[in-house]
Symmetry: C2
Subunit: 447 residues, 2 copies
Amino acid sequence: MKFVIIGGDAAGMSAASRAKRRAPEMEITVFEKTNDVSYSACGMPYNIADPNRSIEELVVRQAHVFREKNHIDLRTGHFVEKIDRESKNITGRSIQGHTFTMEYDYLLLATGASPIIPSIEGVNQDGIVALKSLEDGRKIKDFISHKGIRKTVIIGMGYIALEMAEALRALGIQVDMVKPRPDLLPWMNREIAEIVKKELIDHKVGIHAGQKIQRIEKHEKGIFKVICSDVILEGEMILAAVGVTPNSQLGEAAGLELGPANSIAIDRHTKTSDPHIFAAGDCADAYHVVTGGKAWVPLALRANRAGWAVADNITGNHVELEGIAGTAVFKVFDLQVARSGLGMREAESSGFDPVETVIQSRSRAHAHPGASTIWVQIIGDKKSGRLLGAQLLGREGAAHRINAVAVALHQKMTVEAFSQCDLAYAPPFGPVWDPLLTAANQTLKKM
Amino acid sequence: MKFVIIGGDAAGMSAASRAKRRAPEMEITVFEKTNDVSYSACGMPYNIADPNRSIEELVVRQAHVFREKNHIDLRTGHFVEKIDRESKNITGRSIQGHTFTMEYDYLLLATGASPIIPSIEGVNQDGIVALKSLEDGRKIKDFISHKGIRKTVIIGMGYIALEMAEALRALGIQVDMVKPRPDLLPWMNREIAEIVKKELIDHKVGIHAGQKIQRIEKHEKGIFKVICSDVILEGEMILAAVGVTPNSQLGEAAGLELGPANSIAIDRHTKTSDPHIFAAGDCADAYHVVTGGKAWVPLALRANRAGWAVADNITGNHVELEGIAGTAVFKVFDLQVARSGLGMREAESSGFDPVETVIQSRSRAHAHPGASTIWVQIIGDKKSGRLLGAQLLGREGAAHRINAVAVALHQKMTVEAFSQCDLAYAPPFGPVWDPLLTAANQTLKKM
């Protein structure tokens, strides 16, 4: 059997390795358009923050290891241009310009996502960068170390934008962040978002939300000017971090069904609308355990998990993926910010009758030294009593606490049932009533 | 209506405050034998560790506040000696020697637990102490500061013993721990327990497990000698921390049904075998969500929660307590140790067919600086596929991660369903596959 994989990052290489382990006789070929496979993309901002670390440290397993140790036919620098579903083959072109073609029994699309380049006049210039691939990371790290950059502008205020703001400040670089919409993180509860904003300002990051970006001009000495409605921001490097879009063009051109945000639609068995073609990772959609509907959430865990599921499914171990809860965590300077499930707006638009509470609690017990404030938002559905989502923020104890919520969402628990859970207590780690329980109890009162 | 509460700590005062809030017209009287109410008992080791902090900081709310602000008739220094269930009244004696009697419509036993004093020759001497009440804490703190103690022996190796070992070492005091049974923490997976043991030894705590303790002798200059089978340990203070026993004598004498460890048996509505008498906190038992049977686990959260439930139930808001998952966390020097659910032995004796895995993972992502090892044990039931318990240990990220397991246990999830949960990932907080998921995946392979 011939298993062809397009894309050699998290989902693709997880699928390749696991399929080979489960079925050593299977012929597995991976086509990856870049020269990099299997690296920690999420680690790039932290690596960029430290000039003493090489970006190559982020490579988890090198291409030759997959070839020699895992016996996977991994072809880097190979760009697949077309899928012929009828003949069950793919064609493409290598970096060297050679065309290639290959037949498949099963095909996996693991083509990932690409950064969105905002349509701003002057955006296509050297020094205006995005961060998605390891090659992007290399370029940014190079640019910073060789150009002696002192000022940057980040367009966008999402996870990557925030992590990069921290990384650039760690290097002593001035950072201004700008976006057209008024809210820092639109999905976030406003009270919690204000704390994130204050943290950025306390670390001397300029926040310019609600600024229409008119054009980017290049001036002398390599200075860019970002001309906005009310402000002109300057930087020697401009990072566009306005989000990513699924690389679904290949699947779309082949007539596969699409899901939210033009991702490739897959069923619970990770199969596309063509029974011989699977999709996994950032290019594909997923079921959301709270809404029951489809969602597109490009995050690392579900890419790896879906890659494994594809491998299981084509090697005879039928796996159904339950879906995602929309769990995410990030660090911004000294704050941990975590979420799982729906925000208020998502909950409303998904047909729930949501009610939220935000409480402030402490990260350690009464009278325990070193405590800091912890904020918890809990959203419940008035109609069904269900827990719909939570957000957590604090200097400690926020990141891992969210996982209790994630499990509860997978189980479609009510806020009341969640409030009864026997969570851990010891003075160094929280109050007797865990902040999650206090928030759940408060939300219950409104339901 | 007359609501009488015996015991003014976590369960008793939670019940009193909430009942008064829900039904201001209710006559509520609390009899507390000591002069202390509402303090953070779990905070005592951390307070003792710091000579600059007064033990009184641990008081959350003082008696006069309950009287004046909450309008609760709180009588400290009042020891209840007898319950007459037929006449529905209690009688007792105050510290001043006055007898008192009071009728009730509803009675709550919130009498807590007492430290077990091991039956060792010479154990009843000044300088041989236990730690449970705030008064115990005061005495120990006083003793340490006035006697200029340099050496102590701790009998027992449970949570409190370990926390006190850390506290005493923080004060520069030599600590030897001794117990007759061979294992440091018998419920713990042996591989994980060895890490705890090493942490203690690294901090110069003497560990003497498997030592029969023959007698305690008092020598000159206030030195005690603890004579064991193979070793003689010396200290100016001996802490007996071999566990606690429920204060159920009053209930037992009144003919109430008893549960595990002679705790007072209660139903899901916190009611004892007498419909006019409730019990809550360390004196009462609870349902275990994993076994479905009764368990006695004296911990703070469930005491507070049960106190609230009693208040709800006697004021017309009928609450059923789901029970406990046996979740606990503690800190021992730089380690976080957490558990939820059953250990292997408990799982076997509860009729399951358990299988366990212990994995080592990292507290931060690949190539992220500052990572340390994290150990996870997951226990699954071969027959039903259910998740039965977990243990976590690490220098960071172990304490709050256990809560995801606690929620899963409340939901009686299978290991497979748990392994599908969408847990949080970001490089500063863990690997892409959360250590809990890696452990669940490994356990699945054995099931």
